[in-house]
Symmetry: C2
Subunit: 298 residues, 2 copies
């Protein structure tokens, strides 16, 4: 689809961008005081930190699964997790129900944080920022959708590679500043088929891994070092395909004070370029992430 000339031009512009990021005050990460390893003092005038051109929208798309106690969770009740027995991933208990004497209804809600459509904060896998510390301006970001549905239908181990990013850029231009990059693998459609959604494989040596579409670790490195990306999104349980990567994408991305969202849905209802994502991240003090309401503005 992309001629060698187009790809060469993309590479040239990217090399310029890389030099810019390495010396920028104009990047989103710099504006938020993040990614100190990749930014330094500017030598030439740049746009004010955090500046963004006005954005326009006229339509809302909900990217959030309805969360029920039987939603497939990384930690299932009774499972052994690092020597701990996992509780139910989510409980919703009626504490008050409306009747002749009670004018209100109210539930008790309990969960382990990483359930449903949820945020992974940097502190989930590092000593970085907790979910309440994510800069609010990062929660409203240009949404980049990488569509790998065709490949994932053939191979559950399909991954978002640097090549996918370059192909997107050949069509739409460089990734916009402070963007959120989401994988659309079609996996969200399997959410009501627990076995297919988990796609577990028992390796026979005590390890059970997942065979699901994911980001490739090289892509996480590329987006960290050479682009200006605030968050990653997937329509699966995890950024990582543990069969191929272990936790590599988590361990590359999150310790750099980046964050992301797992279990997105309906990414096919938004354009690949031009939408804005709103991540209604929970704001519990010190949280490592947790269920979020995620919307797209188109």
């Amino acid at each position: 689809m992309c001629s060698p000339i187009v790809m060469a031009e993309v590479d040239r512009v990217i090399a310029d961008r890389r030099r810019f990021l390495k010396s920028a005050v104009g990047s989103c990460a710099a504006a938020a005081g993040l990614g100190a390893s990749t930014v330094a003092a500017a030598e030439t005038p740049r746009p004010a930190p955090g500046y963004r051109p006005p954005t326009t929208f006229s339509r809302t798309v909900d990217l959030t699964h309805t969360l029920t106690p039987d939603f497939p969770a990384w930690f299932s009740e009774g499972e052994d997790i690092m020597g701990r027995t996992a509780p139910a991933s989510l409980t919703l208990d009626d504490e008050f129900v409306i009747d002749e004497e009670t004018p209100f209804a109210l539930k008790k809600v309990s969960y382990w944080e990483h359930v449903g459509t949820h945020v992974d904060a940097a502190s989930h896998c590092s000593h970085g920022s907790s979910v309440d510390e994510i800069p609010p301006e990062q929660l409203v970001s240009p949404l980049v959708v990488i569509d790998i549905r065709a490949e994932a239908a053939e191979d559950p181990l399909a991954q978002v590679t640097p090549e996918h990013i370059r192909k997107w850029e050949a069509l739409h231009g460089l990734l916009p500043p402070c963007c959120f990059v989401a994988m659309n693998s079609g996996w969200a459609d399997k959410v009501h088929d627990r076995k297919a959604f988990f796609a577990s494989e028992d390796l026979g040596d005590g390890r059970v891994v997942s065979r699901q579409p994911a980001f490739h670790p090289d892509t996480a490195t590329m987006l960290l070092e050479d682009r200006d990306v605030v968050g990653l999104g997937v329509d699966t349980l995890s950024f990582d395909n543990t069969r191929s990567n272990g936790l590599d994408v988590h361990l590359i991305w999150l310790p750099e004070n980046r964050w992301g969202v797992e279990n997105l849905k309906d990414l096919s209802k938004v354009p690949e370029a031009g939408a804005t994502i709103i991540v209604g991240a929970p704001k519990f003090k010190g949280g490592t992430g947790g269920p979020a309401r995620v919307l797209a503005l188109v």
Copy 2:
């Protein structure tokens, strides 16, 4: 501030608007299938249901308090609530912490739903829609801020009256379709002074009530019957000042399949007209509300 001529014109336009709402398919409530008591079949062509002109923004403001276990809650630990002993309103327990053997951290979160900056869904006080059933397009709405800080500083029982709405309209035009109306009373600044924030009064007859700014019940009725409003917002614990109203505003507003947000903050950082509110409502199945991430786009 508003001349009799301006107010007369506002009243005339409102009377027109009321006739429109009573026969509209163009209202937000009609588009979402809500408020059946106030809408009927259209007789003349109208904009498509749910149509909204494009909206522009360039800045994000966080309207959400950081939620900690000691955040002032309607239900405090050990308190008798309708014959039940209230648990802690929120607990955050470390289930996993990062160490040499554990590559991730994760908390268990438990709460009674109506804590922190949170949604009240219709089902909190009626058999109406639960929080997951709020139409997503209502979660992104024009934000109308009614500033009663000066009055609330003099009198904690200050309320948003129909007159406040008419004064806002004299300055900015009729409330926009599908809008969210928020009271800015300055009360959010008291959140770290538990006693001042609660403003409780013991009536000596077994009842303890709150003396805090709120919506007047007549305003709830006006906004329900004569305007096109999806949600109410307050920077206090409750839409109601229980000293003056009991639960009247809740019981007028929510049973009409409307909803709202309590404990907003930083409403002084957004304009009175022209901003957009994003309510990152939780999406637990059947929830009566709960902690939300609320942002404004300016």
